[in-house]
Symmetry: D2
Subunit: 437 residues, 4 copies
C-alpha cells in the first residue's frame, strides 16, 4: 500500500513489463463491445442437466476440466444443491483428513471427537492432529460458552439530532411491538436486546438475537426487515432514508467490537499440559512456549491485529468447509485471544483461547448437503440441539492448533516440517507436524 | 464478551439448563482415562485404502456418512491428495456456480471471465452474477496491481537494547549474505526488502519477498529459516532466543498494517455505472447507493473494522475454494476499502475497491488438484504466469459483490431475496439477487 | 518503527554521529554511582517556601528560569496547590485566547459562549474563533448528550474457567451488596451497570458509574476498591490474584470500545451552513468541504485511526488546560466521528461531530484552582450542575474546529495561514486562520 | 454509544429532567437572532492592553476571574505571546512539581535529570517521582532513538486508476525537483522519503521529513505546500482536486500505523530492577508486576487500544505542558508498548517502554515562552541540539510512570494513595504514591 519510492519504481517496471504507455492505456480503458452470453438459467429449474450443459458450452478454454467438476454423482445430485447454489456446474472436491481424538470437557460437548478437516494445505491436519492428541493425553480441554447472539443493525438517517432523539424514544415506547414483529417471522429467533448508536443525525439500531441451532444470518435479516416494515408503517418520525443493515453488525469481517459483544457464540477453551508431556510430545518446554507467546502477542499488537492469536483461521476454515458452515465467516470467527503461561504450582503450561465470533450452526445453510452433513455426523453433532457442542469443539480445535504451532515454532521445527510435508518428502506427521503458517 | 449483568444472568440460566452445580463441575473437569485410538497412519502411505478403512472404523456414529465422503472416485484419487492432506478419509463436495461474464480491463487480466464460485450459501452466486453483468455492461472494471510481496517476521530476544542495536547493524553489514542464504532455498522467491521493528530488547526482522506465481507462504518460511540459520552460524551477538516467525507478518489474520504494506498482491478495481444502468439493472439510483456507502462506512468505522467494506469475504471465500487457494487466507484477504461516489460530470456512480492482502497463486498449494485446477482453467488462468491476472479477477469480483449488495440494500430488496432464495421459494436470480449477508 | 534497511542505515549513522562503538556502549550502560539528592519534601508541608528553596537549590543549570516559574504570586499561592501537585516549584503560564461567540443549542448548554483556550500553538485560537463565529451566524450548533458514565475494570485471575463461571454467578447473586459497597464511598457516584469479560481463567469486571459533575476517575477507583474489598471478605471462590484495574476501562488511551460504550459523556453536535455562508466566510464551497471529508475519512481509516476525525485534540487540549480538566484525558477524548455532507434540500453543508469520551467535570480535580476556575466562570459553567453543559460546549468547539480546518484545507489556505501566524508575519486572524495542524 | 435499551431509557429520563417535549424542541432548535459581539482584535496589535480590556468587557459573568488570568505580569508579557496565541486575555497558571532525579543512559541524554511536570492531578508527580528514583537506584534506564521523522500526506483525486498510475510515475521521475521545492522552504527540514498509497482513483503521497530540533509540524506543512505548488505548475496529469493533507499523517490522533513508521521520534527505554529493590521500594515483587503486565496487556487488547500500555498520557501531558510542547500531541504520543517480564538470570524485573510518536522539539512552538523555556532549562535541554535528549527523557519518564503505577496496582496501594492525596489527607508521597489513573 504505502510503498517507498524505490519499491514503487521497481514495482512499476515489473508490472508494466515491456508494455508501452499506449498499450497500458489501451488495456486499462473500458471496452464497450457487447459481452459474451450471460450464464443462463438463473431461474427455477436452474440446475437441470440441460442447463448445466449450456453453461459448460460457454467455457471453451476448459474442456478437460469438466469431468473433474461435473462428474456423474455431482450431476445426479443437482436437486440437492438447488437451495444452496445458483448457476450450478458441478462440485469441487476438497480432501478431508481426521484429527484426533480431541477430548472436550464442555457443558454441551462431552467426550472424544475425531475432527474432520477439509483443506488443500499440507501439514495442516497433521498439526491439529498433534495438538488434539496432546490435549487428550492431558485430560482434555475445558470449554465454556460465555455468550450467544447474532445482530442486525438497521440504520436510519434523519434531518436532525432532535429527530434522532425522538425516534429513539418512540422505539423504546414500542419495543414490545418491534420485538413481536421480528419474532413473527421465525420459529427459533428471539430478540435478546436492542441497542442504539447515534452519530450526528444517523442512528444505528443494533438488534441482537438468539437463533437456536442455526447460524442465523438469514433469519435475523428477515426478522429485522419486519422491524423496519413496522417502523415504516407506524413511526410518526419519518427518516430521510434507511437500510436494513448499516454495516455495524460485524457481518463477514473482523471488528474490534468482538470483545465487547458476541457474534454467534463466544467460547473459551483451556488446558494444562504437564512439563513432561510438553517435552516428550512437543519437543520443547513450557518456558519456551511462554516466551513465544509473549513475543508473538506483542508482534500481533504492533501489526495492528484485533485480538492476539496465531492461526485460528487454518483450523476453523477446514472445519467449517468440512461441516457445511459458511466459509466466509472465517473472516470474523478467526479473531480472539490466545494466552499461554507457566503454571508454577503444577509445573505445567496453562494454555487458553477465547473466540468471540464463532458463528456456526448445525441446521440450515450447508449443513444438509450430503458430504457436509457427513462431517457433522462424524462428530455426532448433526441437526437440532448440537450447535453449542459444535462451537465448543471449534474452540477446542483452535486451542489444539495454537499449541501445536507454538510448540513447533519454539522447537524450531516449523520450517522443517513445511519443507517435508509440503514438498513431498517422507514425513511421519505424528512426530513434528506444525500447521501451515 | 462484555455482557451486562442481565445478559449474563439469562445466559447462565440458558447454558446450565437443568444441570446441577455438581454435574457442571463434573463436565468441566479434566478426565484422565485413556482415550480412544488415535487416527492411524499419519506416516507415508498415509492414504491407501487399507488405512482409510481403519480410520473409518473409528467413526461408529457415522456409518451412513461414509459413502458421501469416501466415494469411489475419492478413494481412487487418494494418491493425488498425498501432498495436500494427512489422515485422509475422503472428500467433501462443494457445489460450484458460475458468475458472469465479468469483464476485467487490467494489465494482466484482459477480457470476459466466467467466475467459478464454490459455496453452500444461497443467493451468493446470484448476487455476484448480477454485479458482474452490470460491470460488463458498463465496459468492464479497470484493475491495477499496486504492490506485491509476502513477509516472514523472525523475532529475536536479546539481553539489552544495546545488543539489539548492535545486531541490527550487523544485519545491515551482512544483508548480501542474508539475502543469498534466503534465495538459495528457492527458485522463485526473491528478497525485496528487510525491515526492523524494535520493542525494548526484542527485534522483529520483517523480510519481504516476491514469490513468483505461488502464494508463497511455505516458500518464505523456508527461505527465512535459512536466514535464521545463517545468523545462528555467523552473528557474534547471541540472542537469548529467537523464532522464525514472531507473529508480525499478518499471516492468517486481519491487521491494520495492511494499508501500509502488502500481503500477496494489492489491487484496486474501479468502474463507472451510468445512471440508467443503475436504475434499469439494479433498481436503485446512484444517489441512494452513495448514501448507503457513506452510512455503512461510518458503521464499519464505529464497529472497529480494519478498512471499510461490505462483504468481500463472501466472494473471495467462494473463489478461493473453487480455485485451490488457501481458504484460511480469507481472514486477511477480506480487508480493504470500498468507495462509492457520485460522478456528477458523467452522471454516473463511481465505485472502487482496494484489497491489500490478496494472497493468491496459480501454482503450488491446492492448485494442482483436479477439480481445483478445473476452476483455474475455466478462468484460463491455471499455472505459471497467471497469478497477477488471477488477483485482478479477485478484485473485480469483490467490486461486483459490493455493487450488487449495496444496490440490494439501497433498493430494499436485500431481505426479500434472502427469503426467496434461501428458503426455497421460486426465484429468478437475474432480477434481484443480493448476496448472502 | 518498522523501517527499511536504507532508513535504518542512515538513521544509525545520524544517531551515532562520530561516536565510537566503545563510547556508545559506555553511554548505554547502567551506571551505579550514587545519584544526586532526591527532590525533598514530598510529605506534608510540601509546598512551603523553605522547601521550595531547597528544590531550586538542586537545579544549578537553570538559575535564570526560577523567576519565570517561582514568581511571587506562585509562591504566595502555594497552599492552594497543595492538593493538586507534589514537589511544587512554581507555575507555568500558558497564554489564553478567546474564541467566539459560539452558540450552543443543547438541553444543558443554551446561548452564546466565549470559549477560553490555553495553547502555545499559533493559529489555533484563530481557527476555532473562525469556526465558532460561522456556527453562530448559522443559528448555532445543536448538541445532545447521548450517554454518560465512567468505568473501572478490576481483573481477577482464577485457576480454571470453571472457577471463573462460579465467581461470575456469585457476583450476580451479590450485586446488591457490591453496589452498596461501592456507593458507600461516595456521595455522587452511582453504579450504573456491571459487565463481565472472560478470557480463559481471567475475568474483567467492568463497573460502570455515573459521577455527578465530577470527571470522576478517582471516585470510581475508590468505589471499586470497596467492591474488591467486599469480594475479598465474602466471596468463597478465591482468586489466584486480582487488581483493581485490569486496563480495560480505556483510561488515558484511545480505544476502539469507545463507540460501543461511553467514557465520561458521549455528545453529538451538528450544524447546517448555508452555501452563501460557506462561500463568504470560509472562502470555499460545501461541495469541496464534502470532498475533503470523504478523502480524509478514508485517509484516517487507512492510517488505522479509531473513529475518523481531523484535529479534535487541538481544541480539547486548549479548553481542558484553560478550565482545569485533566489534560492527559485528551488521549481518549480526542476520538470520534466527523461527518460532512451536502444537504441538497437546503443547499447547505451538514456538519456533525460525535465524541464518545468527553471525560470532563466542573467540580473536583483542577477546577478549583484560581485561574482554572476563571476559565469555567468565563463560560458561566463553574461548579455543581454544569458538567453536561460543559461537555456540550466541548462538542460544539470540536465542531467549530473541524469546520474551520476543513474549510482552510479545501480552500488551500492551510499552509499560508501557518506561514503567516506561526512565523510572525502580519495576520488578520479573522480572515483565513486555519488551526494548527 | 451503543447502549442497551434500559440504558437509553434511563438516560433519556435523566437528561430530559422535567422538560417538556416542546421545551426540548425549543432548546435544540437553531436560533437566528444576532449574536453578541465577536471577540475583537484578531489582527495585528492583537494583544495590547486596550484590546485586552475590550475582550474582558465581553465577559460579564466572570468579573472575579479577571485577576486570576490577567494579572500584571501576564499583561506586561503580552508581546512575548504574540506569536503563540490570538485573542489574548491572560494566562492560566499550572502548578509544576519536580520528579527525580531520573538517570538516563542514552546516546543523547546522559545523566541525572530533575523532571518538571505541570499538572493539576493529585498524586501524579508523586508517582513519577517514585518511579524515577527507583530507576536511578537501579543504575538508570537505557534509551535508544530508533527512528525519526514527521510526515505530511497530500492527497490527490483523479478521474481514473490509470491517471493515478501515470501521476505516480511522473512523481518518481521528478523526485529531485519535488524534494528541492520542499527543502527550499526550510533551513532544517529534509525530505527523507516519499511514499504512495493508492485507493481507487485517489492517491495519498506521504512525504517524510526530518525536522532538526523542532517538532516540525508547521515546517512540513509549508514544505509540502511547495511540493503541491510544484506539481500544480508542472505536472501534465491534472487532478480533479487535491489537498495538502489527506488525514493520513497521523497528526493529532492515535493510529495503528505508528508501529510501522514514526511520528517525531521513536524511542525505547529499558531498565532491570533487582528483586530486593522492587520489594523494598515498591512494596511488591517482580512476579506480581509481571502478572499485572500480562493481565493488563490482554485487557488493553480486548478494549481495542493501539499498542498496549498503562498511562503514558499522564507523564507526557505534564512534561509537554511544562516544557512548551504542543499538548494536543499527547493524543498521538501516548501510544506504545510496555513490557514487563521476569529476568530469571539476574532475579530481576525487566521493564521496557517503546514510544513511536514522540513529537517533541526544543526550538520553535512554545519553547521560547519564559516559563516554558524554564522547564527545558531545568532539564538542561533548551534550544538547538537537544531534541533527541529530550525525547529520551520523555521515554525514561514514561518508563518511570509505568513502573510506579503497576507497582501500586500490584501492591494494592493504588486506590489508597488516591484517597490520601486527592482528598487531601496527609501523605508521604515518597512511600506509596501511585499515579493518577
Amino acid at each position: 500500500m504505502s510503498a517507498t519510492y524505490q519499491d514503487v519504481r521497481e514495482h512499476a517496471q515489473r508490472i508494466s513489463g515491456g508494455l508501452s504507455p499506449e498499450e497500458i492505456a489501451r488495456r486499462l480503458a473500458p471496452k464497450h463491445h457487447e459481452g459474451p452470453t450471460r450464464v443462463p438459467g438463473s431461474g427455477s429449474g436452474h440446475a437441470n442437466p440441460a442447463v448445466i450443459d449450456k453453461r459448460w458450452a460457454l467455457l471453451p478454454h476448459a474442456p478437460a476440466a469438466r469431468a473433474a467438476l461435473a462428474d456423474a454423482a455431482s450431476l445426479a445430485d443437482h436437486e440437492r444443491f438447488a437451495h444452496n447454489i445458483e448457476n450450478y456446474i458441478g462440485t469441487v472436491k476438497l480432501p478431508v483428513g481426521l484429527a484426533g481424538p480431541l477430548r472436550v470437557n464442555g457443558i454441551a460437548a462431552q467426550g472424544d471427537y475425531y475432527v474432520p478437516l477439509a483443506t488443500t494445505e499440507a501439514a495442516l491436519v497433521a498439526s491439529y492432529h498433534r495438538g488434539a492428541n496432546v490435549i487428550t493425553l492431558a485430560g482434555g480441554c475445558t470449554t465454556l460458552i460465555l455468550s450467544e447472539g447474532v445482530s442486525r443493525a438497521p440504520a436510519y438517517a434523519f434531518k436532525t439530532l432532535h429527530e434522532v432523539g425522538t425516534f429513539v424514544v418512540w422505539c423504546l415506547q414500542n419495543l414490545t411491538e418491534l420485538r413481536a414483529a421480528a419474532e413473527s417471522t421465525t420459529r427459533f429467533g428471539r430478540v435478546r436486546d436492542v441497542r442504539f448508536t447515534v452519530e450526528g443525525n444517523h442512528v444505528y439500531v443494533l438488534v441482537d438475537y438468539t437463533t437456536g441451532d442455526a447460524a442465523g444470518q438469514n433469519m435475523v435479516t428477515i426478522a429485522t426487515q419486519a422491524i423496519c416494515d413496522y417502523v415504516a408503517a407506524h413511526c410518526p418520525i419519518r427518516p430521510e432514508y434507511f437500510f436494513v443493515e448499516g454495516n455495524m453488525s460485524g457481518d463477514k469481517k473482523a471488528s474490534a467490537q468482538s470483545f465487547l459483544g458476541v457474534r454467534g457464540k463466544k467460547v473459551s477453551a483451556e488446558v494444562r499440559l504437564p512439563r513432561k508431556m510438553v517435552e516428550r510430545h512437543l519437543h520443547t518446554t513450557p518456558e519456551k512456549m511462554t516466551e513465544y507467546w509473549r513475543m508473538s502477542a506483542m508482534g500481533g499488537v504492533m501489526s495492528g491485529t484485533i485480538g492476539v492469536q496465531g492461526h485460528y483461521a487454518n483450523g476453523l476454515a477446514a472445519l467449517f468447509i468440512a461441516c457445511g458452515q459458511d466459509a466466509a465467516c472465517v473472516s470474523e470467527a478467526a479473531v480472539g485471544i490466545t494466552r499461554f503461561e507457566m503454571d508454577l504450582a503444577t509445573d505445567s503450561l496453562y494454555a487458553a483461547v477465547t473466540l468471540p465470533n464463532l458463528i456456526v450452526g448445525t441446521v440450515g445453510g450447508g449443513t444438509n448437503l450430503p458430504s457436509q452433513r457427513a462431517g457433522l455426523e462424524i462428530l455426532g453433532l448433526a441437526g437440532t440441539g448440537h450447535s453449542r457442542a459444535f462451537a465448543e469443539v471449534c474452540a477446542g480445535l483452535a486451542l489444539a492448533g495454537e499449541i501445536s504451532i507454538i510448540a513447533a515454532l519454539s522447537a524450531h521445527h516449523f520450517a522443517q516440517a513445511h519443507a517435508r510435508l509440503a514438498r513431498g518428502r517422507k514425513a511421519d506427521a505424528a512426530e513434528a507436524p506444525p500447521s501451515a503458517p
